[in-house]
């Protein structure tokens, strides 16, 4: 084994590992759009630096040894095999590093779990294979619709060129106002699904017969896309989640329009009966 090739390999892997952070989200988490997602993003970067430092320390020693302490260089083996002091040191230091990692994570976990006092509560129900949304509380209460993949099958079958948001587009976006605390309640109708929007740092399993919850506050208007993240059968890859974050006044308009449409449907139904 040539030592140069080892060095080159180590160098290129390390470089590949860390060059990513500086460039686009192609190599890293998507750009965070909520407090929690930002905490996650920052902690991940911090962990990468810690890992890099440990990596360099451990493999620096190991590869120095691999280069120098070889029989082919005539190096004679030493015969030590024990040192209590050294062993205590390299047990203690990792414990301290882990505490430094766990401290901010603990704070984030507690914050993530705090779903109290939401402005709007929306129930997301997983079906094989689409999402149903019911606005339960807050502005828009009573709105209810399904949200299904809108990518044409011809694109999946490679008969048409694939669109920009291939497999990440739906017929009805979940619409929420910017800057409001949104509590998402998840459940499912058949099997377990998971409601995941990376930009908000929210991933919550949707379990049939049970209720779970998560929250986010979107910081900027825009469209944010995610996927079902729990294997739910044949079309697991085809039930994306699209959240459209609107300015408050636009959101109010959307609610009014949606209510009118729903009222229309209800009235028609009543007349028909």
């Amino acid at each position: 084994m040539s030592s140069k090739s080892v060095a080159a390999l180590v160098g290129s892997i390390t470089l590949a590992f860390y060059s990513g952070m500086a460039f686009s989200s192609k190599y890293n988490f998507q750009e965070p759009q909520s407090v929690i997602a930002r905490d996650i993003y920052d902690q991940h970067i911090m962990l990468l630096w810690i890992c890099l430092a440990i990596f360099i320390a451990v493999f620096g020693v190991m590869f120095y040894s691999i280069l120098k302490h070889r029989k082919s260089l005539g190096y004679k083996a030493a015969n030590f095999h024990h040192s209590t002091a050294v062993e205590i040191i390299w047990t203690t230091i990792p414990v301290l590093i882990l505490i430094a990692m766990a401290w901010p994570a603990t704070k984030t976990v507690i914050a993530m779990k705090d779903t109290s006092e939401p402005d709007i509560t929306i129930k997301a129900t997983g079906y094989q294979w689409l999402w149903g949304y019911d606005y339960l509380q807050g502005e828009g209460e009573g709105i209810s619709f399904y949200s299904k993949l809108s990518t044409p099958p011809a694109q999946m079958r490679n008969k048409e060129p694939k669109g920009e948001n291939y497999l990440l587009e739906v017929d009805n976006n979940l619409v929420v106002p910017v800057g409001k605390k949104i509590r998402i309640i998840t459940t499912a109708n058949d099997v377990i699904h998971a409601w995941w929007v990376p930009a908000f740092g929210v991933k919550q399993d949707a379990i049939p017969g049970f209720i779970r919850d998560a929250w986010f506050t979107a910081e900027k208007p825009g469209i944010y896309r995610g996927n079902c993240a729990e294997l739910c059968g044949k079309d697991h890859g085809y039930m994306p989640i699209v959240v459209e974050v609107m300015e408050q006044d636009k959101y109010a308009e959307w609610v009014a329009e949606k209510k009118k449409a729903t009222a229309g449907v209800v009235t028609t139904a009543a007349v028909e009966n």
């Binding site: 902690q43 062993e87 994570a105 377990i192 990376p198 044949k234």
Partner: protein, 525 residues
Amino acid sequence: MAVVQDVHGHHDHHPTGIMRWVAATNHKDIGTMYLWFSFSMFLVGGFLAMGIRAELFMPGIQILEPELFNSFTTLHGLIMVFGAIMPAFVGLANWQVPLMVGAPDMAFARMNNWSFWLLPVAGLLLVSSFFVPGGAAAGGWTFYPPLSTQGGIGVDMMIFAIHILGASSIMGAINIITTILNMRAPGMTLMKMPLFVWTWLITAYLLVLAMPVLAGVVTMLLTDRHFGTSFFNAAGGGDPVLFQHIFWFFGHPEVYIMILPAFGIVSEIIPTFARKPLFGYSSMVYATASIAILSCVVWAHHMFTVGMPTVGQLFFMYATMLIAVPTGVKVFNWTATMWRGSMTFETPMLFAIGFIFLFVIGGFSGVICAIVPIDIQVQDTYYVIAHFHYVLVSGALFSIFGAVYYWLPKWTGRMYDEKLGKLHFWLSMIFFNMAFFVQHFLGLAGMPRRIPDYSLQFADFNMISSIGAFGFGLTQLLFLYIVIKCIRSGEKAADKQWEGATTLEWTALPSPAPYHSFETPPVLK
């Protein structure tokens, strides 16, 4: 080097023909069958992996329909875990434990036969489930209900296969425990045992603990499917999440069942080729034991998105992070063993160093996954796929390759081709990283696992990953060629082929090891 064994035993019973294998009770024959079985399952599982990577080569559906794709990922996982990695380690234990503790055979020779011959039955059930109506199980190798209550007869075949594999593992584990505790050569105290034997002793206890839990949970699933119970059905008063708790109570020890023997192998190889005793032997033993104990209280870190209470999430996060400490101790000990050694770099040593290098990367991503908020993002994405392939392929599998190259001269009496062995290592190393390193990026950027098709921003990394995977798969045919070439026409190996070896199989036995070894126990100095 003194060969103390009388090679030509007076009652050298040596069966021949097919009955030598069908009715085998010799630990070497059974070990050989385990290893060949696991290699053939490795090729089957590898074929499925190639199918998965071929479908993911480009966006769009090309060769596998979504349902079949799910069957491929499910069976790839099950076959690799239960058919390839675990039997390979049991095969190594069958060959090496008696040789390394100076015992004439395994404690229960006939049970040993039975625990091997269950395996092909289970393997056949898994593979043939592809051809029954409804196809093979498609709910992932973790087969969470209610999804796994939905499938056809393929799911029942999988359940039955898991029962059989579990029975086989438990018998194998009992055999190994009994052999190690009762059949060591006089003078070999527990704290003088080679580390491979130690790690296998601890692994065998984990197996006895974990496999019955798996058997229980698949039985509950079976009765839910066919006999009207509702363990995991909320409509009948059950809870789908209960399944996940029980499954992972088995599943996490299982992870260490697949890595502790690897630690043992590396702890044999590194000192041999560094020509220097293992640094911190006793701390290695304690670290192994603490990893095993901790592995039983961290199971819910696989379920952080299921919606546990805050205290639950924090407990499982802290417990999981704690595992990094004994694991770190092991890596430091290996480094200290290499430090100021007189190293040579034959193929087993290359695989051992490759193991440490890539396993540490898998360990880093493991700590990252342990942090609950980050795990919420990466759970069920390609990041997790990358993480566990770093510990299972470049971890467990690389150690198995290392072990085979290390002990092949002892088993066959012949040397493998060193040049080709090194080529096998370097190709595996390059293609492995090509296949799996980019999957970290895919996961971070948001690509979920277990999907047959993906959005366009993931296209180039998936293509790189697929090319790496094809290369890795092809490289393993080279391994097959090397082994066959070694058996057929390798140069004759010395009794003590490795200068720095200190364990009994090298110091007290000729190469190849005679069919019956240590009929009288060796004398330990």
